[in-house]
Symmetry: C2
Amino acid sequence: MASPEIEALTQALARLPGLGPRSARRAVLHLIKKREVTLAPLLRALEQVNDRLATCGTCGNVDTTDPCAICADPRRDARLLCVVEEVADLWALERSRLFPGRFHVLGGRLSALEGVRPEDLAIDRLVSRIAAGGVDEVVLAMNATLEGQTTAHYIADRLENYPIRLTQLAHGLPVGGELDYLDEGTLAQALRARRPVG
Amino acid sequence: MASPEIEALTQALARLPGLGPRSARRAVLHLIKKREVTLAPLLRALEQVNDRLATCGTCGNVDTTDPCAICADPRRDARLLCVVEEVADLWALERSRLFPGRFHVLGGRLSALEGVRPEDLAIDRLVSRIAAGGVDEVVLAMNATLEGQTTAHYIADRLENYPIRLTQLAHGLPVGGELDYLDEGTLAQALRARRPVG
């Protein structure tokens, strides 16, 4: 039996998406076999993230500062707001380097199945941001899934009385496709061809 | 773009076997989304492993003590020595809880392709252990691969003049294995090593 320290590390790694108990064990062996080049950098990186990362109180992004670098950047267009389900989606859009505005992370999607209701997402906070003024266009960048589109419709309803342009990412995304898995080229096209809602 | 801290963590995770850049990013998001239940335990586990783990100077196992718990355990049969390629193999055998002896980890296998020579493995140290006496049987538990079997043959040659019994793991059908799905090599071995029923 491996030592308790190794078992604990194996279990902690096995909880990551994409790793099961067996691959976690392989990963642990890899880590302890070449400690200086694998374990040490991973440990330092985790410490840094743990010590420094915070959730942006404005948009919900995860960064080392609050407000995050995007919200604090005066070159980012504050009149253009992109609503995404998760931080992963924000990062995916940032990798395309094509979106000049700011973000709003919902923290999930409406789901009857998983019992996710509007009050479980950062929707009220989105409405407050819009009500505060200064935003001309809201891009609804939900996933092209049933739940993503349900969430987009719900938000469109909530925002319909505000003097803003509501747009959504161009479809042409594969049905059932999730932003985080898409290549930058497709994302860039979808962003460029965004169109008005309804 | 995600913060440098997050990029560094993504890269460190992407170096683990079984995780690529994309799955590493998913893992990072998972870690920062539920920090208390995922990141914190992983960080603690890594610290413990980093602080406490050492390689056993006797057998090559990785443990918190040197000699390791197996080498130091008086209930383990010192006359029975099992030679394995990697620490992972030692752990696999330990999980079976069926081997009462001690181990010797080679740290790899002979490979012309990868340029691994006898002096790159802990073979001289194995011969010294046998020469020191006290071992009656050496179980060669190499992988059933060409390189594993080449390594086993090489070790058998090196040990042939010592008064020990040399054995190897039986080859044959894995438990639960279906004939139809097995490769011919395994089937041939299983057929050659067939035993009387009952």
